[in-house]
């Protein structure tokens, strides 16, 4: 009986607690007004003492002394800085698995199939002002899987993260990772092809040669099928379909690369097959071939100053962003790491320290430029009327090392708020205490040793290493 009562009591506690306190609140207030802030618009300068009005998830107005409806949520922006939500053009957050490494060409796999919307690192990224991620397949193969562009709608089901209208993309990779340089030979096991940068070129060439034929086969079939209804259609090949889309300009190529020679190789190959590389990722030696990258029309998505973590990164310099920007390349700063993603503002600011980019140029590195690289520049990347209300509100200039994010909004909804985060901590402690009392959570006397948290690496994921997710 006593047991029964305690159970009842426990149930009462449990049921009064929020099911998942981390879930973001909704529905959004129809209007949100940020009053009297410094607004870094990216496209039309820095506006002092300015209001930003959001309505139905969009930026409705920017100006002084704006009027909002009576039930609008009002955020006092005095002393604060508003910038567009940061866009990370190279992330592996929320992926249950990063690589399909068994084959050299895995264009049939889709990161969208393995999203984990509960990955706590997503929340930590929101707290760094990040709102959009380009989730890329790893770099285990010359042609990797398809990407997914998401807004970090933490607390929602995976389907609600998908960025509507983002250009489909795919991951390519060159150099050490696809050569499996760090993988030891195993007796009796034939190494996966390719083993050299020559073989990498050959693999990509072969894939596009097949894709061309595949497209022809389908074109011929469609033509013939107009007359003959009794034709068996060609086999649909999920590996080649994305490559055909690339040839048709309907899918962006994001190519992981390091050294100058392999960058030129891919440019030449793409030119030969008549497609474009949308972004070179990492592209640490991009500064050596900046004019060729610019001539091809490719963008570059890079680290601010990472270098020397492997041989092909030894010639990396922090002036990379500046040199490529001046050569006319659209450059963005990415994280490739859940850790670094939390401080991309600092990474962007470094381009002013090294290489003398202007504040606006540096801001673009994590806002408008990655938006262009993902084909979402009409939706996000700057503070303009009509764009999505994806904003980060900082307590100081985001390029100051002393600043932090107070609030992050996506589509006008608050997904991170420091005040609320602080206020929630005692509640979570209470919930924990209650849950620990529940029967299935009681420790076993004869049980095994509880797991200890691993020290998490914070350096370069370099998208080839499977990072353990909590």
């Amino acid at each position: 009986m006593k047991q029964f009562i305690s159970r009842l009591l426990f149930l009462a506690i449990i049921t009064t607690l929020p099911v998942n306190a981390a879930r973001a609140q909704r529905p959004a207030a129809p209007e949100t007004l940020i009053r009297n802030a410094t607004v870094l618009t990216v496209t039309h300068g820095t506006l002092q003492n300015t209001d930003v009005l959001m309505r139905n998830g969009k930026i409705a107005a920017i100006g002084k002394n704006l009027n909002a409806s009576a039930n609008a949520r009002v955020i006092d922006g005095t002393g604060k800085y508003v910038m567009p939500g940061i866009i990370d053009c190279h992330s592996h957050s929320m992926l249950d698995t990063i690589n399909e490494g068994t084959l050299a060409v895995t264009s049939m796999v889709r990161t969208e199939d393995v999203l984990n919307p509960t990955d706590v690192d997503l929340y930590r990224e929101l707290a760094g002002g990040v709102t959009t991620l380009n989730l890329l397949h790893g770099s285990a193969n010359p042609i990797g899987g398809l990407n997914t562009v998401v807004k970090i709608k933490y607390g929602r089901p995976a389907g609600e993260f998908l960025f509507p209208g983002a250009m489909p993309g795919i991951k390519f990779a060159l150099g050490e990772n696809v050569k499996r340089s760090s993988q030891p030979n195993q007796p009796g096991v034939t190494r996966r092809y390719p083993n050299t940068r020559m073989g990498v070129e050959e693999v990509i060439r072969d894939a596009f040669t097949r894709a061309r034929d595949y497209k022809r086969t389908w074109d011929e079939y469609r033509e013939a099928a107009k007359k003959d209804k009794n034709l068996i259609p060609p086999r649909r090949d999920l590996q080649l379909e994305p490559l055909v889309e690339i040839l048709e300009g309907k899918r962006y190529v994001h190519a992981h690369c390091y050294i100058a020679s392999e960058i030129l190789m891919l440019i030449n190959l793409a030119d030969e097959f008549g497609f474009k590389i949308k972004t070179f990722q990492h592209v640490l030696e991009g500064y050596k071939v900046a004019k060729e990258i610019a001539a091809h029309g490719a963008g570059a998505s890079i680290f601010a100053d990472s270098w020397a973590y492997k041989i092909e990164a030894y010639d990396a310099i922090p002036y990379n962003a500046a040199i490529m920007t001046r050569a006319g390349v659209v450059v963005s700063m990415n994280s490739d790491s859940d850790e670094r993603a939390r401080r991309l503002n600092i990474e962007a600011a470094k381009a002013m320290h090294w290489g003398d980019l202007t504040e606006e140029q540096a801001l673009k590195l994590v806002t408008l430029n990655p938006a262009i690289q993902l084909g979402i520049q009409d939706r996000v990347g700057s503070i303009d009327v009509g764009k999505d209300a994806d904003l980060a509100i900082w307590n100081g200039h985001p390029f100051s090392v002393y600043s932090r994010v107070d609030t992050t909004l996506i589509d006008g909804e608050v997904f991170f708020d420091r005040e609320k985060d602080l206020a929630r901590r005692p509640e979570l402690a209470k919930e924990r205490a209650a849950l620990e009392q529940a029967e299935p959570n009681r420790p076993r006397t004869q049980g095994q040793s509880p797991p200890t948290s691993r020290r998490r690496p914070s350096g370069h994921e370099d998208d080839d290493i499977e990072i353990e997710k909590p």
């Binding site: 930590r124 707290a127 030894y314 500046a322 850790e339 090392v401 040793s449 020290r455």
Partner: protein, 444 residues
């Protein structure tokens, strides 16, 4: 040896064929100490109040005078500090600077961890590569000193405090053997060090605890042996009639540490390991410093009580536990400051990222630390913790002239270093990176 290794790599790796002149070689000559007077500068002394418009005189590698009303002595080369600020050079007390050139795919350039668990005789100063590209890349960002430590095993070896300038380890060394480095064993894992990451997951409770105790016991036994060894050597020195004890290269270096004459750095991040390290240090009467210290705020009371300092390396790490607050590691420094625990801020990096030390301190300041304390956390505090505050860490008369002259706030990203002095020697603000930049920036 190191040169041979590098030469080998250069021959073996076609990539290096692209390598251009490395300025860190400094033409084989260390720049001479100068006689300087920095005038009209804002002087952030760190140890005292800022001097808004002052003068610093530097001679023979030392700060000869500093103040608002110091006159420029005859013969001194003057540096106009108008609009500039002078700071003491930053010190990163938790690096492997000079021991690693390229950590992955070039194991020949890695001199971090010796074979085996107990290597007190592994001395970082032996392997520090003065010509590593990392050194110039780091110092031009205002970091003048690093504590360079070996890693791995249980007793990793001895750390060295170096100036990031010099053509030989000897020229660089400030304190050749400053501290012993122990990876305090993690529960459920092998060592407490970088290697701990690869260790097996915990097994049964009893086994886990036993394995942990066994590792601690290994360390304890070696330290006790060293104690006995030291006693025997001393006794023999006084009384030659005693049997002569054999010299032992493993035990010998441990003697000053087991006697509490020099500090022992315990690498420990989790609360349990920090507490364990403190207990162990008490038991063995060591002089402990905690390196890592992710959970240090949870042990603040004890750390304060024992007066044990912490070298915080995890500010930019992702919090280890899913439920940790997002800013748990950002705000550790502020919490330690508030609790009165001695601490300093470090990148904990092997080399390439050490140049970003200022941003680690800046992040701590964004989350509760005062800006002045953040500067101290990378200058005076590490000097105090490493017991070299008489020479480094602030701008005071008599201290080593490791000075950074900036055009703004030391920790701000946009700030540029305008002049750099290490040991009173003027340092050219170039590095492998500036040279590659110069080589390619105008390529048409």
């Amino acid at each position: 040896m190191i040169r041979t290794l590098l030469a080998l790599i250069i021959c073996a790796t076609p990539l290096f064929a692209q390598q251009i002149g490395n300025p860190t070689a400094q033409d084989g000559v260390i720049p001479p100490r100068g006689f300087f007077a920095i005038r009209n500068a804002k002087i952030v002394t760190v140890s005292g109040p800022d001097i808004e418009n002052g003068t610093i005189v530097i001679r023979d590698g030392k700060i000869e005078a500093v103040g608002a009303n110091v006159s420029v002595p005859a013969g001194a080369q003057t540096i106009d500090g108008s609009g500039l600020s002078v700071y003491p050079g930053m010190i990163d007390a938790g690096t492997n600077m000079g021991l690693v050139e390229v950590p992955q795919g070039a194991s020949g350039t890695v001199d971090l961890s010796e074979v085996g668990d107990l290597n007190p005789n592994a001395k970082a100063i032996i392997a520090v590569n003065p010509h590593s590209a990392h050194i110039a890349v780091t110092r031009v960002e205002g970091i003048t000193n690093t504590l360079t430590a070996p890693t791995g095993g249980l007793i990793s070896g001895q750390a060295t405090l170096i100036n990031l300038l010099g053509t030989s380890p000897k020229e660089m060394a400030v304190v050749p053997q400053l501290a012993l480095v122990i990876n305090y064993p993690r529960i459920g894992f092998g060592g407490g060090g970088f290697g701990g990451f690869q260790q097996q997951a915990p097994q049964s409770l009893a086994e886990t605890l036993t394995a942990n105790e066994r590792q601690i016991d290994q360390i304890r036994k070696l330290l006790r042996d060293a104690e006995a060894y030291g006693r025997a050597q001393d006794a023999y020195a006084k009384d030659k009639s005693l049997p002569r004890p054999d010299r032992n290269v493993v035990l010998e270096p441990l003697v000053p540490y087991v006697r509490g004459e020099q500090p022992v750095i315990f690498r420990a991040d989790r609360e349990a390991e920090i507490r364990g390290a403190l207990r162990f240090a008490d038991e063995m009467k060591l002089k402990p410093i905690i390196l890592g210290g992710n959970d240090a705020a949870k042990v603040a009371t004890l750390l304060k009580e024992k007066n044990v300092p912490v070298i915080l390396t995890g500010i930019f790490s992702l919090p280890a536990r899913e439920d940790d607050a997002y800013d748990a590691l950002y705000e550790t420094a502020a919490k330690l400051q508030q609790a009165g625990v001695r601490y300093c801020i470090s990148t904990g990096d092997a080399g390439a990222e050490v140049r970003n030390l200022a941003q680690y301190a800046g992040m701590a300041a964004a989350f509760g630390l005062s800006r002045a304390d953040a500067v101290k956390a990378v200058t005076l505090y590490p000097a105090q913790i490493l017991n070299v505050a008489d020479r480094l860490g602030s701008i005071e008369t008599g201290k080593m002239a490791n000075l950074v002259i900036t055009d703004g706030d030391l920790l701000e990203i946009r700030t540029r270093i305008r002049y750099l002095l290490i040991d009173g020697r003027p340092v050219v603000l170039s590095s492998r990176h500036t040279e590659l930049n110069d080589a390619f920036k105008n390529r048409k």
